[in-house]
């Protein structure tokens, strides 16, 4: 297989923030100019970067199962039923990656962070059953109707409060497929985002990813603490063992409200949403296929079709 590295991106910690040296091509992918004046809080709990254990926060969303028929309420929001709620399939890879990093770095902690309704604890337990150590649920009635930016604001605040060396995201959620949240969180935290990672290596001071490109793959690096979004090719999520399921029942899930995070209710939820769904329509699969049977001069008709399509 052809593999080539077409760019490298380094972020090194400076006194008060980040100074990035990066190629132009990659800078365009950044959510904010690296020369931002925003001061970056000390997020890491791991001050000795030589030490191996890391604090990993995996961000997960609860989404309706991909197989259920989706319907929209009058506000054009997807109607969510508790019994259909599953972990966003993309986030299973996020959780798995957190656990694999933990396995590589003994003593590390994996925290599952979720913003959602109070009932989302069931799905957080699933992450705990897979092996995460504890869960944090941000839940507040005022959060209903949050758009991507509102969600990112909350997650950023929660990440700040929890503290982390590595925060992992899925590349999108299977309900709205926005794919904006990871970069928006990076914006709020004033940190770069290592996005669409197909491979992740951390060594305590640096996170390094490989990102699949059209030709070969790109390698990008950032110093820790780091934000990384992962794609599905990065791993194969595990199925929780029975032991895991039983242990998960005893693991703690902390609940945070907007007040705990110090956020104003009007910056999040429906009130703070800058995005509005105007209408929703069902996509009907349009399959245009024609079948020619062998005894109907199929060969000639296929040749004619290919000529028509300028294939031949």
């Amino acid at each position: 297989m052809l593999m080539m590295s077409i760019g490298q991106f380094d972020v090194k910690p400076a006194k008060a923030g980040f100074v990035a040296k990066c190629s132009e091509a990659l800078r365009r992918g950044l959510s904010r100019p690296p020369s931002s004046s925003a001061t970056h809080p000390t997020l890491s709990t791991n001050h000795n970067l030589e030490e191996n254990p890391v604090k990993i926060v995996v961000c997960m969303k609860e989404t309706p199962s991909t197989t259920v028929e989706k319907s929209f309420g009058p506000d054009m929001r997807i109607e969510r039923r508790k019994e259909d709620a599953v972990i966003n399939p993309f986030d299973e890879y996020t959780i798995e990656e957190g656990l694999r990093q933990q396995e590589k770095h003994a003593g590390s902690e994996v925290i599952a962070l979720c913003m959602g309704p109070a009932t989302a604890t069931d799905n957080i337990r699933r992450a705990l059953a897979m092996g995460a150590d504890r869960g944090v649920l941000v839940t507040d009635p005022a959060l209903a109707g949050s758009d991507a930016i509102g969600t990112a604001r909350v997650l950023a605040a929660a990440l700040k409060q929890i503290g982390f060396d590595l925060a992992l995201f899925g590349s999108a959620a299977a309900d709205a497929y926005g794919g904006v949240v990871p970069s928006a969180v990076a914006e709020f935290l004033g940190m770069p985002l290592l996005s669409f990672a197909g491979k992740l290596d951390i060594d305590g001071s640096t996170a390094r990813i490989e990102r699949q490109a059209e030709v070969g793959y790109q390698v990008a690096e950032a110093s820790m603490p780091a934000l990384v979004s992962v794609v599905k090719s990065i791993n194969e999520p595990r199925y929780p063992s029975m032991k895991g399921i039983m242990q998960a029942k005893k693991k703690p899930i902390d609940t945070l409200t907007l007040a705990n995070l110090g956020l104003d209710a009007d910056t999040v939820g429906a009130a703070g949403a800058r995005e509005e769904a105007l209408s929703a329509e069902k996509v009907t699969a349009q399959r245009k296929g024609e079948i020619y049977m062998g005894n109907e001069g199929a060969a000639d008709r296929i040749v004619a079709f290919l000529v028509e399509q300028k294939v031949l």
């Binding site: 991909t66 197989t67 199925y239 029975m242 039983m246």
Partner: protein
């Protein structure tokens, strides 16, 4: 009563013999004590129920030797070796007594001597037959992965020694005593030795006697340390055989409150499962019928049983010493992944051919699935392709990424009510996931529904209220998922009044399902209890999938779900026999062969019903394959294998398709969605799509009914 002479050679001889006798028995006793203590290190299991049946079966199988007699040559030889051995042992009591200076009545009588000599002769013939088989015929099943042949030859030589020494003792004793120590051999050969000096004859008799008693006592010590432990353990194993429905795996009780799941340490097996290891005669019949092994996969059912025994022996001291030996135990290579390879466990199709053929009632499949349970539930270690299956079963109640809300879509426009629409239907058609979602098997569901409609059966389906029965999850080792799905289904079925009530049955005295043909208990057809003239009772569940059928029938009772459930082939057979379904007899003029699905055949004894149906609809009747009925060869899809890739060796389904085609049949009749799916693939793989096909029995019927509606058929008749 005094013996004619003391073959130990007088007082000193008697004393020496007495010591030897005591030492041998003490050594024997100590070994047996250890073996029993190791067994008891296993988990408890109740195998003391149904004592009457146990005694009956014991008589037939052990005393009547019915199991081994199914394979005539070694069977008959074994019959005489077994009885010869018993008679010789009884006679040995008298020989020992003679050595100590007395004699036991009856055993020392002439009639007994005649019987003894007959069996000595027959045992000698049997011994020659066995030696011939081992040396010249060399059946593949006798080869072992972990054991040399030394054990086998040792025993053949020992038996020969016992026979030869006994023979010469009898002859010389007769000569020495002038016929007072009567025997057939002595009487026959006396003329040849007639001129022999009595003292010489006496000395030779003494030598033969010492040779015999030392061999027999040596045998006594050697026996429990060798594979011939089966001589002692087999009768017990047969007595303690499984009386739960054959098709049921054992339940893991209180699954949410346990510390461990399944088996990875030998002491997690039950004592009966450990006894299986002692009872194994290493005959290898299980290997010879295993479809995985036949297609070059690394599964030797015999090695699983012997692996467990080896593990028990090597762990024995640790188990018996108990605490303090933990360190030693930690150093020990784990059983699963060590003596028993994971890939062997995953290769099993749960077809039950090994269990069926085992002459000593060993239960291989439960052990394999117990170890799978450990791998799945404790280690989350299983073939990767199974993960989506588990996830989908949890989320969608079916094996695919498809909403369960669409479960009834196949039946659209067919005028089939769901139970929610019409809760008063008489029969529930349990469609199963394959029938509901798999394009090929939707055709089977449609065909079977049409057959029922033609017979005027008032039936309905559950639609979205039906969930996967959990069978694939349970067979792969995910007991927890099975319990969740099963409970959900039981609630739904009970909600519609299909429950027969009754408490959860303990495994050991569940309903009498079929027992293996190696069992004495005949198949109890589920139709028993139906009013005469009626094809079915109200509130009967009919399943087209043998896996659904088996788990609902045999395993749901473990969770308190008791339902009257039958397989559709059996249901159709009853519709025909009661006249409720009229068919254009002989409509199908193709040459047909029939494949017995393991989960209705071996596990449930449904062999005749599908054949009867085919014999009505087909002009020629069934052309049997080489391996049929209880010897049927799996399609490769059972035990969750349908959800795993088959990467090693030849493909099982192709092998079976080839066998079906070898009958010269035009088509293969099947009765299981997994078999159909496996065979569709197999037919493509062998490139026979143009001249060979697989159809469910109901499809053949539906086509016939469509082409020649019943009214017309009746008019013709």
């Amino acid at each position: 009563m005094l013996p004619p002479f003391m073959p130990s050679g007088g007082l000193i001889g008697a004393i020496i013999f007495g010591i030897v006798l005591v030492v041998a028995w003490v050594a024997f006793g100590l070994r047996i004590r250890k073996l029993v203590r190791m067994l008891l290190a296993g988990r408890p299991e109740n195998r003391f129920d149904r004592l009457g049946d146990r005694i009956k079966y014991f008589t037939l199988m052990v005393l009547g030797q019915r199991g081994v007699l199914r394979d005539p040559l070694p069977g008959i030889a074994h019959f005489f070796t077994f009885w010869g051995f018993i008679i010789i042992q009884i006679d040995a009591l008298n020989l020992w007594a003679m050595g100590l200076g007395f004699q036991i009545p009856i055993i020392s009588s002439k009639p007994f001597a005649a019987i003894l000599d007959f069996f000595i002769f027959m045992a000698a013939v049997a011994l020659i037959a066995f030696t011939y088989r081992r040396l010249v015929m060399r059946p593949r099943q006798l080869q072992s992965q972990t054991h040399g042949m030394a054990d086998a030859y040792t025993i053949l030589i020992l038996i020969a020694l016992v026979l030869v020494t006994l023979f010469f003792f009898e002859v010389f004793a007769y000569v020495a005593t002038g016929g007072a120590a009567w025997s057939v051999f002595g009487a026959l050969l006396n003329p040849a030795f007639g001129g022999m000096n009595a003292r010489t004859a006496l000395a030779l008799a003494d030598v033969a006697w010492w040779g015999n008693v030392l061999t027999v006592l040596g045998f006594l010590v050697y026996l429990p340390n060798s594979k011939h432990l089966h001589l002692i353990a087999t009768p017990f194993n047969v007595f303690f055989r499984n009386y739960a429905p054959m098709g049921a795996l054992q339940i893991i009780p209180n699954i949410e409150e346990r510390e461990d799941y399944g088996v990875h340490k030998v002491e997690q097996f039950t004592w009966k499962q450990l006894l299986d290891g002692y009872a194994c005669t290493e005959c290898g019949r299980c290997n010879s019928v295993c479809p995985a092994l036949a297609t070059d996969k690394p599964l030797w059912p015999k090695e699983i049983i012997l692996g467990v025994r080896e593990e028990l022996y090597s762990q024995g001291n640790i188990l018996l010493v108990g605490a303090g030996a933990a360190e030693e135990a930690a150093k020990h290579e784990p059983m699963v992944g060590g003596l028993i390879k994971e890939e062997s466990l995953w290769a099993c199709t749960n077809c039950g051919a090994c269990v069926e053929i085992c002459p000593v009632s060993i239960e291989h499949v439960q052990k394999i699935d117990d170890m799978r349970r450990y791998l799945v539930m404790e280690e989350s270690n299983f073939p990767q392709e199974v993960t989506p299956l588990f996830n989908n079963l949890e989320r969608n109640q079916n094996p695919w990424e498809i909403s369960n809300d669409t479960r009834a879509n196949w039946a659209r426009g067919m005028n089939i009510p769901t139970l929610a629409e019409d809760p008063d239907v008489e029969v529930l058609y349990w469609v199963g996931c394959m029938g509901s979602f798999d394009a090929r098997n939707q055709k089977v569901a449609t065909a079977f529904a049409k057959v029922m409609q033609a017979a005027g059966v008032r039936f309905g389906i559950l639609g979205p209220e039906e969930s996967c029965t959990g069978d694939p999850a349970r067979r792969i080792g995910n007991e927890y998922l099975w319990q969740m799905l099963a409970q959900q289904n039981i609630e739904v079925l009970n909600g519609y009044g299909f429950g027969k009530g009754g408490e959860a049955k303990t495994e050991a005295n569940g309903t009498n399902g079929a027992t293996s043909s190696n069992g004495a208990t005949a198949t109890a057809p589920s139709g028993v209890g139906v009013e005469p003239g009626r094809a079915y009772n109200v509130k009967t569940v009919v399943a087209t999938c043998p896996h659904c059928f088996n788990t609902i029938k045999n395993e749901y009772p473990q969770l308190g779900g008791n339902f009257e459930v039958i397989h559709h082939t059996e249901f159709i057979d009853r519709l025909i026999s009661t006249g409720q379904l009229k068919l254009p007899a002989g409509f199908d003029r193709r040459k047909l062969t029939y494949h017995d699905p393991c989960f209705i055949g071996r596990w449930n004894g449904v062999y005749d019903q599908p054949r009867r149906v085919l014999n009505v609809i087909n002009s020629e009747g069934v052309t049997e394959m080489r391996r049929n009925r209880n010897r049927s060869f799996c399609c490769g899809g059972g035990g969750g294998r349908a959800w795993m890739e088959e990467k090693i060796g030849k493909r099982i389904n192709n092998t079976r398709v080839q066998e079906a085609m070898d009958t010269g049949a035009d088509a293969l009749a099947a009765a299981c969605p997994f078999c159909i799916s496996m065979f569709e693939d197999g037919i493509k793989a062998v490139g026979a799509t143009d001249n060979f096909g697989v159809e469910d029995i109901s499809e053949i019927l539906a086509r016939a009914l469509e082409a020649q509606p019943v009214a017309a058929a009746q008019a013709e008749a």
